[in-house]
Structure formats: C-alpha cells, structure tokens
Assembly symmetry: D2
Homo-oligomer: 394 residues x 4
C-alpha cells in the first residue's frame, strides 16, 4: 500500500549509519539486534527511500585501523553508496566513545588529549572529503564536566576556540569547500556540556577566526531535553544564515536522550518545525538534507528498524502537507494580516537611529488603552493549526 | 549578634524596589503584606546593609503619571536615596505588565505597540540617567508566544533588533555613557520567550548595530528553570567581556519562576557562581553590583522580608569565604595542576592555523590508551568542594 | 460551518466558572478582559454547547458575604443554570486565595487555620449540594512548603487525614450521597505541595476512614508539569475504581501551570487519554463529566475565550473519533493480539500462590534466547497511532 | 588524616556490588576501568568502612550459569563477605539487562516472559536468603513502554500484581522472614515506567495480597529526576510504616539517571533527608541500612572509585551532625513552637467525625483577617538551616 507520503530520494532524507545501525543497547542492557555492516545498512536505506547516508569515522572504520585497512574500507563503502544510488552529504568525528576522551576532547584538561582529538578530527574530515561530504558536523559529547571544580569554563571555551580556529584554517589550506556545523547538547553523557544550546553555539561561532564557514546543526532532542523551543532555535539560526545542517528526531522534555522517531512526540512542535524548513511567510526553504538522528526502540528487531525509518520520513511528508494547507487557509491569513497591519507605516520608524524618524515617533498619537483592548485571535489560530494537523480541515 | 558575614555597603549589594517591595501576591492569591512606599523601602535597604537600589520605571512612577507628578516623584526618590547613603546603579523598563503589551512590546505584531514600547523605554532611560544609573537592563517578559502560529520568529527577531538599534543610537545621540544589559528567560509569562537563554542573547547582541554597548544580565532562576548551568552562562559572558550586570536568586529546575532567596537552592551551584564572580584561577573579579532579584515567601510579614534580604547577602559572603578557602587548598591546587600539566607545550600547537605547528602536531607521539588510563581525581576534587562548602575543611 | 465535531450537551462537557471567567491576569500583569458575572458565563457556556458548569465557593459567593447575600446569590445562580439548561455536577472550595491560607489550609501549622479551613469546606459543600453537585473536588493549593524546615511532612499528612476523616463523616451524617475527588499537584504556588501526584493521593486515600467515598481528580497539567504520564495515572485510578472526576487541559513539561486549551500540547498523549476515557480494549468507558480546567491565553478578548472553549471540546471529539478508528484498525489488532498471545495459558500460572501452579511454572520449558529474539512491532504500532492521529489513515 | 566523619561499620553504610563495581561505560562510550571481581569489591568496601554489600543476582552469578557454578560462586562470595566482616542485608533480581526483558518482565505482553521473570526472581530470592538478606528489592526497569499503543496500562498493573501475589505467597510457603521493597522510577530505560513514583507504588502495594510484607525502596535520583521531593516521598512512606529500604545518591532534576555521589547535588535536600532518617521532631530513626546506589564519574580510575565511596559516607555523617545541631538550635525551636502553638486545643476538634466536636468547631470564633496577618518566619528558619548546613552556626 503506497500513498503520496512514501519517501523518495527527491525528498533528500538522510540517516546516519549509527541510527539505523543502532543495535538496541542502553545503560541497562546490551544490544538486542544482530549487527549489520555499513554495506548492509546502505542497501537497506536505499530500499526504504532515503537519499543519503551520514557517518562518524568510527561507524565505518574501527578505532585503531591501519591506513591500508582504512583505505580499503572507505573505498568499499564508497562503491556501495554509489551502487545504491545514495550519497554521503555529511561526515563527523567520534570524539566521545574512546576512554581517551573521558574528560573531553577539544576541551580536555590534558593538552595531549586535545592534540589527539584535533588530529582525529583531521583524519575524519579527510574521510568525509573522500566520500563527498560537504558538511562536517561536530558534536562535543564529552566537552563538559560533572563538577565545575574540574576546570574553569573560560579555559574550556578558549581551548574549544583554538581547535576550531586550527581546523578551519587547515581545511582552507587544503583548498576544500567544506562547512562545519556545530551541534549543541545541554547534558548527557556529561553532567553539563559546554555551550549548552544552539544559542550558546551561535554566539561562540561569532568569536571564531573562520566564522563564515561555521554554522549550527540543531537537534530536536537536544533543544527539547531542557524544554527549549527547537523552532525558535532553528529560526534564530536561519535568520543569521547559520542553519548548515539539522538533526530530526523526537524527545520528551526533561528525560535522557531518547532519539525517538521523528514526529512521535510533540506533534505540534514538529509541525511548526517542518513548516519553517519548508518555507513559510515569504521566507526561503532550507535547502540542506533532512537528516534523521534517531533510532528504533529496543523492543524492535530488524523489521522494526525499517518500520522506524519509514515512519520518520512519512511523518515529515505528512506534516509538510499539513503545513502548506495551514499557510494557504484563508482564515489563517486573515488573522495574521489583521494582526500585523501597518497602514501608517509606523513600523518603519524603528530601526537604526535617525533624528527625523525619532521626531515622528515622539509625535505619534498612541493610546495604550485602545491598543490594549484588541484581542489577538490566537486561540482560534492555534486551533486552526491543530485541526490542520489532525487532518479535519482542508 | 553580628559576624564577618553581615553585609556592608562596601560589598556592593543591590536590590530592586520590586524585590523587597513584593507584597506576596501570586497567581493563586492576592497580596498578603501591606504595601511600602519606595521611600520606606530605600530606608529599609539602607538599614540591612545594602549599597544600592534598582527599579523599573513603574516601581516608582505609576503608569500614566503626568510629567509634573513624575518629576516630583523622581526628585523625592533621589533625595531619599541620597539621604540613605544608597545609589541607583541600574534602571529598567516595565514592558510586561500593562495589557498593551499582552502580545509583546518590541516584538509585538502590532507596530503601534512596538512604537509605544520604544517610547516607554526612552522615558525610563531618562529616569535612569536622572537617578545616576550606569546600566539599563531590558527584560522582555512578553516577547514570545504561546503558539508559533502567531508570527514568524524571524520577524520577531528583526523587530527586536530594530528596537535596540534605535535605542542604542538614541542613547549615543544624547551623549550618555550607558550600557544596556539584556536578560534572557525561557518562558513565563509567555509559553516560550524569544532568545530563551543567555547564550541566545549573546548571539543576538553580536548582530546589533551598537553591540559594543550591549551585554547581558544573566539571572540564576532564568538559566536554572530549564536546568541549564548558570555558571557556564556567566563564564561564557565573562569570557566575551559581556557580563554587564547579574541577577542573583535561587530556583528549582523545571518550576514556575520562584525568585527564591539567594543560595537557598543548589548550594553547590551558588558556591561556584560566587567563586566565578569573586575571581578565581587567574581571572579577574566581576566589578559590577551584586544584585538580588528575589523576594520573600508569601508566608512572611515585613520582618520576614528583611530576614530574606539579610539572608541573601549573608549567604553570598559565606560562599565567597568558602570559595577562597577552596582555591587556597593545597590538595585542590595539586589535583588541578597535575591534570592540566603541559611540560612539552603541546597546548600551544593548537590555535590559529600555521603549517609549522601543524607539522609538529602531526609528528607528536600520542598513545590513546596511555592517555586514557589516567584517572582525573574529580570525585575527590568535588568532595573537597563539598567539604569546604559544608564548613568542615579549614 | 458545523461538522460532527461540534459539541452538544450529550457529550457531557463541563467548564469551571473560573476557566472561561479567567480575566487574563498573571504574575507579571493584571487582568486584560473585563469581568463577566457568573450568570453571563453560564449563558455563554450554554451557547457554545457545554453540558455543565462547576465552581469554587468564591467564584460565585464573594469571600465574607453575609448568609442572606449568599442565599440570594446561590438562588439566582441556580435559576440561571436551570434556565440555560445546564447542570452543576461538581463543586469545590477555594482554600488557597485568601491570605489566611498563606501557610496551608488543612495542613497549616496553626490549628485555628485548620479549623477555619474545615468550616469553609463545610459551607462550600452545602452550596454544592444545594446546586445539585454529586462530586466535591478538593485541591489543596497551599498544602505544602518552600522549606522542609517549616514542619514535619508526617505532621502535615496526619492533619490532612484528620480533615478528610472529619468531612467524610460529616457528609455521611447529613445523609448526602456525595463523593470527594482529591486533586494532586506537585508545586505552584508552594515550592512543593504535599501528596505531589495522583499516585501519592491514591495511597493517602487508602489510609482514610471514609476511603470508599473518596477518589481522585487527576489533571493533565498537574501530572505533566513534572513530566509524568497522565495516561498512566488515570489508568491506575481507573483500575482501582477511583477515577471520580477529571481535569482536562494541556501543559508543557517543566513549566509554570499553563492550563492550556485541551489537546493543544502533547497531541499523542491527549489521544491516548481520550481513548482511555472513551473505553478501549474491553474496558468500560469513564462515565463522569469531561471537565475542562483551562483558560484562554492573555492575548484574547471575549471572542477568544469562546474560541478557546469550543476548541477544547472539538479537539476532544476529534481525538475520540481518531481513537475509535485506531482500535478498529485490523493491523493494530493483529500486532496487539500477536504480542499477547497465550496459547498454552501460561499467564494463568501467575497470581495468588498455589503449589500446583507453582510446580507447573517451575516445569515450563522457557528459552530466554528464543523469547528475546521476537521483535515487538511497536515502531509500526506507534506510527499507526500517529497516522490515525494525523488523519491520513482510515 | 581522619576525623569524626570517617565511616565505620556501626554507621551501617552499604553499597551495591554494581555501584563501586561500575566500570564507567555509558550510552556514548564503553567501560574505562578494568573490572574487579565481587571478591575484590568486598575487600575494598571493608577497607573504606562499609558495613554491608548488596547485589543483583547477575552481579555475582553470570546469566546462564549452571547450578553447580552458581553454588560455588555463592559459597565463595559468602566466605569472602564473612572474612571481610561485612554482611549482605539486601538482594535483588536483574530483570532489565537481558534482551528477554526488552518489553518488560512482570508486565511483559508475552506471558512466557512473565513466567520466566517470576522464576528468575525466585532463584534470586533463594540466593538472597542463602547470603542472609532480610530485604528483597524489586526494581522493574523494563516495566513500561515508549508508546501507550503497546498495551493497556491496566493490564500491565494486573500482571504486576499477579507477580507479587505469587512471589509473596511463595516466600511465605518457604517460611522465610523476608520483606520486599519496591523501587519506583519514572522513566529510563523505558519512555515511561509503570508506577512512576514512590507514591504510585505505595498505592499499588495496598492492592496486593501480601501487602503487609511489602514496602518501598525510594531512591533520591528516581524521585528527583521529575523534580519531586524525596523528603516528602520518604516521609509519606515512613508515616505509613512502609520505608523498608532506601537508595541514597544525587541527581539533577530533568536529566538522565545520574547516580551521583550522595550529597553532591541539592545539599539542602540531602540535609533534610538525613534529618528525617536520623529521627527528628519526636519521630523515630529509620533503622535499616543506609544504602548507596551511585557510582563514580567516568573520569575516575580505581582510586577515584574509593574516593567516591568515602565521599558518600562522609557527607552523610556531616549532614547528620548538621541536622542534629539544627534541631537543637533554640532559635529554630522557638520559631517552630510559636507557629504550631495550640493553647485552646483547637487541633483536637478535627479528626474522626463526632457531633460534639463538630458543634465546638462550628462555635469557634475565628477571625480570618487576624489569622492571616501573622508572619511565619520561614525565611529566617530556612536561613538558619542554610547556616547550619554551611557550618557557620553552632
């Protein structure tokens, strides 16, 4: 049974090797699914309609592989990706699993660990380039602490900056046309992770030497864990032209990192996120891949993994259709236009200071009681959003 | 009974009029304490040892006062502050109480409301200047939404920017030596408030025309509500020379805005925050006022309000003493120095890219297994912090 | 424009006077809507299709009214309710607004406050009876503390028990056929409220003298504030035949008490809750009123209030239709039946101990590896739930 | 360097084998510490001053061991425990690690899994008895779901009850004098775990056939994850004589299960918890073991593990001393006594209904305004608690 919500490569959906390849282990129990090789995962992704596959260096190349092993693995993988009709738009470095990073990678107190981390990132970027990636994601899973006794946060920020300044310069030196996308997370596996949200990261980027090549990779789960709005984070990044990549999944607020099937929690939040990515209100569409960073429940076998992958993509497409219908709804447009009407061009008085506009602003007749009396119709507007979401309108 | 932890003006403690003046109303019940006038509050603050008093425009001047009433009120207040030996280091604008701001002030969809908000802020800045304030705080309590249907977040960010670009230019035009300090909050009273954390605000500031005069005013409660680290937020701001003001109080994670007595929750977090503000690890002390934005429990009468105010200040001083002892503890220093030792100057290889240093980095002999084997002693270090905090260690 | 989701009295929807009557004040600003009288609210509720109206004593009768004023008000209200074709199925007592309850009502440290609270509850029950209420709700908004220094929690629990033992006995003495429904909330307006969740309350009820007449009134927002599952709480209450009333609304986890329009957050949670209430899986339907304890955004005028009320009811009916379709979906049934199949009646061996069944249990051949290998198809099942919810299936 | 806070066996501190034996793996990386055998762990615990050691069946006996292997292992372990001068006061069953329990153990949809789980629990209880345990803890880590589509919660509760009814009966049949202690957790590793808090469990116990032998094992982290008060949960259990065991650790609200060193977060909460356990306000001391369910940071080597263990115990003892001083402080006693004074024995009027007392209650002269005017001095009281905690008083 197929319908218009079944995924196709033109939807530009991507999955990480680590997502569909997740074998179901967690802190309270081991893997429940037999492992699949990267080549098998690529084949499976092609079958369910994905466009691309992303990876950490060690999803593909075991830690400690010799250069020749590495070359063989990369070359086989590239052939498999090509033969499956997929691509590898993004690559990243695992700087969190090996015990050497137990106290951080780019922000480890031990400078030799920092050096080791930078070198590992260089090797992973080389692999990404070899596989055709245009975006390098950095998630600093161990860059944090359980106790602020362990180091001054300002030292950590400086060391973090040093690493990106070095790596950005090195990439330019190689002549590669790459962009970095930095991913925030507030905690887990560390008690607190430095630069806890997309907002903190956006600021940090402005302090980097190669800021123009560095943007963000917001993740639904990571913004939602502390209860912050993913929509607001992505909008801030888009407004600053810094949305370089995105991690789609689902998460309940205030819990362990769940990486649930996209859209399976906070359906309204997912609806507004998809609306933002697909273009709304005169703003452009996000043109990068729609990447899912999620995994199947531990209750599932391999059939369940592919159910999971299909579900992520179908829900995205359903929400995109619902969002388009919402934007086209005359009642929605009427409420929004009435609320933002500016017949006297008052809005233009505010902005970069200018004495003439200031004089006009001071001279405006503004009655706060009259302005206050106007109801906004947002209960109706949000109910319209819900009824579009639930499929009972249009 | 007095001791070395009793506050004195040289400690530079400040309170808002709205803090000690809070009459104890909440969403489920009205005020429980008879109101005190601003003049009475100033007198009380002087008696408990505060250095300064801060205010919103409407804490002092009722909304809708005539210019002459306003002048009389400000002049009497200034005289009272002088006579009490206090000062007014900070002023702010109430852009959240009046129904005109029900859908935002600087980010309201209605451009006339935005214009009204900017004008109200100009008047409040004038009052601040007249009272001697060097810092103008902005907290946009209504700048947000309950449903993202109501406006595009990017429009809101642009309008927000327009307001600060205008106000910054206007202040410069007047020739005033003022700094703005922007305060983040993730939610309440709106479902989501734009620029939800100090991180988001720090980034936003970088996009403003007058960024150099604009910094942040982080608040313990506002960072802690979503479970983020106040220490990390303040450290990021200090590292960027953007800590222009601070709001001290206490809060349980994941609750309504509590504004509790400083230090009365998360004692370890308060300890590390005070340590940061007082200077540690070779970094300078924060030189601004230690401002408390908190209020007494609704169970209290006026005696309880002054108990509350004294408690905020005493706890700050106790924690400052504990932090100094921690930094001076030889066992603490030994663990930190061992963990950050860099006998081979490896740390210097990372930073702005340079081919020579890159070659050295590539040539380093680094054994990940050996580096991974080193225990960090952070359990001991954190226990030392706890034992200093609890007063059982020298 | 009407459709099958428009509410009618036969749906048994009820609202509190305090919900549609909420004038839009919050901790950061005063009311934004002109007040409506209880009589006007009753008329409005009838017009939007509600079945009943509930109330606190002081929603109707101002605190401190004389007996004759009280009688006149109640009599007029009853006439208005009758004339509008509504009913009053539930009444409750405001034990949280007046400053006398600043430190609790039934659990206040001052025994005179406890006595005053019990007497106020008696008067409110009398009013409820006079208006035809069958259920008396108790929400102890001030029964808690900001600091556990203030009293021993065990003393508070004992005093709490005393109050219900007294009131239950008194109601029986009057010969009234009433049930009490106790409502939990974890915090706000107190730092911690005693008996924080429906679970804690269910246990407390078992320790009461008149436990058989006392059940629970779970509220979506109150269970969700700390991130707990409303569905699990309601199911536990239903399993114990203790669901005596319900408060429907919506809430983001980890925030101030939002009381949002039903279904406007956590759409999947609302879907499973409605499914539970409407009867599923061979279990009976909940037969009590569908009560909404929510209010319109502060951005709304009176039109927006009625938009809000209609939205609550419409969403409930849409979700009920979606839930019925989900339960009837053959693919859903197939997955559930396969997962719970018990061809050998193994399930019957477990339960009250019996030597014979124990011997059979010990003798069973059970291969953990084989049992572990079975995938559960829950990704597919949950995606089916989502696609029913989003209206793309059936 | 030793002091009065160093632990001794008379303090009755216990640790689980899984706590000090935790090798530092987490969802983002493998173990960092070489494993130690149960015998080595017992020796280490004796050296740091513990009184006892607790265990899951599979902490000691590998899953799938033959009966003879099992007997040898248990016997060697018992000898090691004896020789170290320790005891084994509690044992529990691992019903969460093996993939067979991927969808639950006692509440799994598959009845054969439920049967297997009950049998595994029987074997674990036998081991506990053999090692001298008086308390059997049950933590149902997999008893929950990611989606409420998967089963009706009421079915799960019934199956859960069946298991305890069977096991309770079986234990009695064996003639063992054992108590069960059930442990709640709201989520992780499942999306939602059934019977989410100590409150929910306390109610569930009342519905069990052998309720008198079944109590609770509250855990600090599990109550704090959703931001609920551990002190209130423990107090409710103590008031009902159901505190059969306790799990001490530390946790930040709204995060993954951290199992931090006792007292290292929420120092004030830990202070009030220890005060409750040690006896306060005329209530008896909790007489069971002080069990730590926590583990060292992943940054630590084996020295750090023992630092961690010593830290748990020292902090407990420091807090016990601080709590005793607080209770003995005359200013504390004065505030509490004034607040609860009952010169007219008004408190006695409330309780089981009685017409005579009711008449007295109705006749009382109670002025709500006068009662409302009294300030409670809780800011002062809580500041006294903080100053005792911080060691600057008495």
């Amino acid at each position: 049974m197929t319908d218009q919500f079944d995924p196709t490569p033109s939807d530009r959906f991507t999955f990480g090797l680590w997502t569909v390849g997740n074998p179901g282990g967690d802190p309270f129990g081991p893997a429940v699914r037999p492992s699949k090789s990267p080549l098998e995962l690529v084949e499976g992704l092609a079958q369910v309609g994905a466009w691309g596959v992303n990876l950490h260096d060690n999803d593909l190349i075991p830690f400690g592989s010799s250069p020749s092993e590495r070359d063989r693995i990369v070359s086989e993988f590239r052939a498999a990706v090509d033969s499956a009709g997929l691509c590898v738009p993004m690559a990243t470095t695992n700087l969190f699993s090996h015990p050497v990073f137990r106290d951080g990678a780019f922000t480890a107190s031990d400078p030799k660990v920092r050096a080791y981390a930078v070198r590992k990132a260089m090797r992973a970027i080389e692999t990404g380039v070899e596989l055709g990636a245009q975006t390098i994601v950095f998630w600093g899973g161990r860059e944090g602490c359980e106790s602020d006794a362990c180091r001054d946060v300002r030292d950590a920020i400086k060391w973090y900056r040093d690493a990106y300044d070095f790596l950005g310069g090195w990439v330019k030196e190689q002549g590669w046309d790459l962009r970095f996308a930095l991913e925030a997370k507030p905690n887990e596996p560390r008690g607190d992770i430095y630069l806890a949200t997309t907002g903190h990261i956006l600021h940090f980027i402005e302090t980097l030497e190669h800021a123009e090549m560095i943007g963000v990779n917001p993740e639904v789960a990571h913004e939602n864990m502390p209860g912050l709005s993913m929509v607001h984070a992505v909008a801030q990044a888009m407004e600053a032209s810094k949305l370089f990549h995105i991690d789609l999944n689902a998460q309940r607020i205030g819990r362990y990192d769940q990486d649930l099937r996209f859209g399976s929690e906070d359906a309204k939040g997912a609806f507004f996120l998809v609306r933002l990515l697909e273009g709304t209100g005169g703003y452009d569409r996000y043109e990068g891949p729609r990447h899912f960073d999620a995994h199947a429940y531990r209750t599932e076998d391999w059939d369940g993994v592919w159910d999971f992958a299909r579900g992520c993509m179908r829900t995205y497409k359903i929400l995109a259709a619902r969002a388009a219908a919402f934007d086209a709804d005359p009642e929605v447009r009427e409420i929004l236009e009435a609320g933002q009407a500016d017949p006297d061009s008052v809005g233009e008085l505010i902005g970069s200071f200018d004495a003439e506009r200031c004089a006009k602003l001071e001279a405006l007749e503004l009655d706060p009681e009259a302005l206050a009396a106007v109801g906004k119709r947002y209960e109706r507007l949000d109910q319209l959003a819900m009824e579009h979401l639930l499929g009972v309108r249009g």
